[in-house]
């Protein structure tokens, strides 16, 4: 919506909500990647006391990522409430610099001082000027030409748009398809049926991100600030401290031309390529299933599907990411290991009709399991791979 500075129509709001979906989804992946990059065992550059600290950071970053997923789910409820459909597409990593209005694009980087500064920038309270922040922290300056500069600004625009359209005209979505905490593991998710609930939902997102005046010490911005200052302090205390796995940043399985290829690292090692590709397809399937759950009115059956998709995250997706971090990325990258690319491959939405959806899901799943078995047979892999696949087979949609 770069030509406009105000949301005035349903279509404007839908566009902004799609943009919000993309950003929340992109941030969630970026945060997950960084959390995955932290070491989880004592080694020569990580003492046991430091392990406690690093594990706390990882847990905190995972928590923020889960709140971004909640925000995405909340935006999906907002979308369906005003007649839209849930939207999970987003540009692949690493993004071209000017895709969003952030001066520094969302990308997949291991934990570092600059990564944490970047995370802080995405969650910047509106009381801090983004230009000044970028200049101070990154030594960069940009021209100001956009309609919003922070995620908080984007939601403020959506809020104004919602307020400007008569309530009965705007909220035409099927109220029965709104998703609550009975279907999805987000106790704080709000069902959106009118202006009041929609504004509550947006306020909650804004509070969790940038915080409010009274609650700022619990905001994402504050959490990242805390981690960064603890990290900087520990580097001073111990110059051998290194809490990060030796993984590559911005990994890519294939160059599909839609990314900032100059900043991408194409995986070379065959097993890493196959596992990374499998990771992406499983992850996309998870997103597709969740999208279906937010679209269908068959809540009883979709609840089981929702559970299945959410269960994939801890017991399949995360162990596969851990597995990748133990496999060499390829000779170009010396001793570095692989990492997940979170690439979204072209695919259709799963339809809202449950009977059709379940056929598509089962077929796709069977195919992915078949691929995982092929990989298992071909390579000797870290135990995380076998455990992830065993877990995948143990749950059913």
């Amino acid at each position: 919506m770069k030509y406009k500075h105000k949301a005035e129509t349903r279509s404007d709001i839908l566009t902004l909500l799609c943009e919000a979906s993309e950003i929340e989804h992109g941030l969630a992946c970026s945060y997950l990647f960084t959390a995955f990059s932290l070491k989880c065992e004592v080694d020569e550059s990580l003492k046991w006391e430091q392990l406690h600290m690093v594990k706390k950071w990882a847990a905190q970053i995972f928590f923020v990522a889960s709140e971004e997923m909640l925000h995405l789910a909340q935006v999906w409820n907002l979308l369906t409430a005003i007649g839209g459909t849930p939207y999970y597409a987003r540009p692949n990593f690493p993004l071209n610099a000017k895709y969003y209005h952030f001066d520094i694009p969302i990308s997949l980087n291991p934990f570092s001082v600059s990564t944490m500064k970047r995370f802080k920038m995405y969650e910047l309270p509106r009381t801090i000027n983004e230009k000044d922040y970028v200049k101070t922290e990154f030594g960069l300056s940009f021209e100001d030409s956009y309609d919003y500069k922070t995620v908080g600004d984007l939601y403020a625009m959506i809020k104004e748009g919602i307020k400007s359209i008569p309530e009965e005209k705007l909220f035409i979505g099927d109220k029965d398809i709104q998703i609550g905490s009975d279907v999805i593991d987000f106790p704080d998710i709000i069902k959106v049926t009118d202006r009041k609930t929609s504004l509550e939902a947006i306020d909650q997102i804004m509070e969790q991100g940038e915080g409010t005046e009274i609650d700022e010490e619990n905001s994402h911005y504050w959490i990242f600030s805390q981690i960064l200052s603890e990290f900087e302090q520990e580097i001073v205390n111990d110059n051998s401290f290194n809490p990060v796995k030796n993984i590559i940043e911005n990994p890519v399985v294939f160059n599909k031309g839609d990314i900032d290829i100059n900043n991408a690292n194409i995986l070379q090692n065959e097993s890493a390529i196959l596992i990374s590709d499998l990771f992406d397809d499983l992850y996309v399937l998870m997103m597709q299933i969740l999208q279906h759950v937010f679209l269908t009115s068959n809540k009883k059956k979709s609840r089981e599907l929702g559970k299945f998709a959410i269960h994939m995250m801890p017991i399949v997706i995360k162990p596969l990411a851990d597995c990748l971090s133990k496999i060499p990325a390829g000779s170009l990258y010396k001793n570095k290991t692989a990492s997940p690319s979170f690439t979204i491959n072209r695919h259709v939405q799963i339809p809202s009709n449950y009977d059709i959806a379940i056929i598509l899901i089962n077929e796709r799943l069977a195919h992915l399991i078949e691929r995982s078995e092929f990989i298992s047979k071909k390579y000797d892999l870290p135990e995380e791979f076998y455990k992830a696949i065993k877990s995948l087979k143990s749950i059913k949609p």
């Binding site: 706390k56 593991d185 269960h311 995380e384």
Partner: protein, 139 residues
Amino acid sequence: MLSKKELLKIFYKLSIELVDIKDLKLEVSNYYFELLLNEYGDDFISLLNNNYFGKKAKSTSSERKLNGLIIYLWYTSEFITRSELDSFFDVSDDFNKQNEFVHSSPVPYYNGLVWKAIRAHPLGLTGGYFGYWKYKPEN
């Protein structure tokens, strides 16, 4: 006479054999070696020697006990001293009894095999992130 370096290697190999897990932490193995050597002296050396020279078939009851407590050590990081050895193997003993041994570092405890076996994590060291406990274990 085997050198200490060789004995350390044999202990590591013996440990792997006893618990049937390949990726035991070498640092922890070396630490346990010192503890056992200090407490069980010649008995421990003779266990390693016999193991090295393939005399396992003739293992004595005291060697079997030492093997048992090495396994227990790797699982739980609880170190059984010589004075506790008999009661440790007494089936009528109180199984929940805890001794007063305090390690110099928490690392042996964090590497206890029991956590892996029960698909949990060492109590006192996070299992990951908020809410993981609602789902099946990832490991």
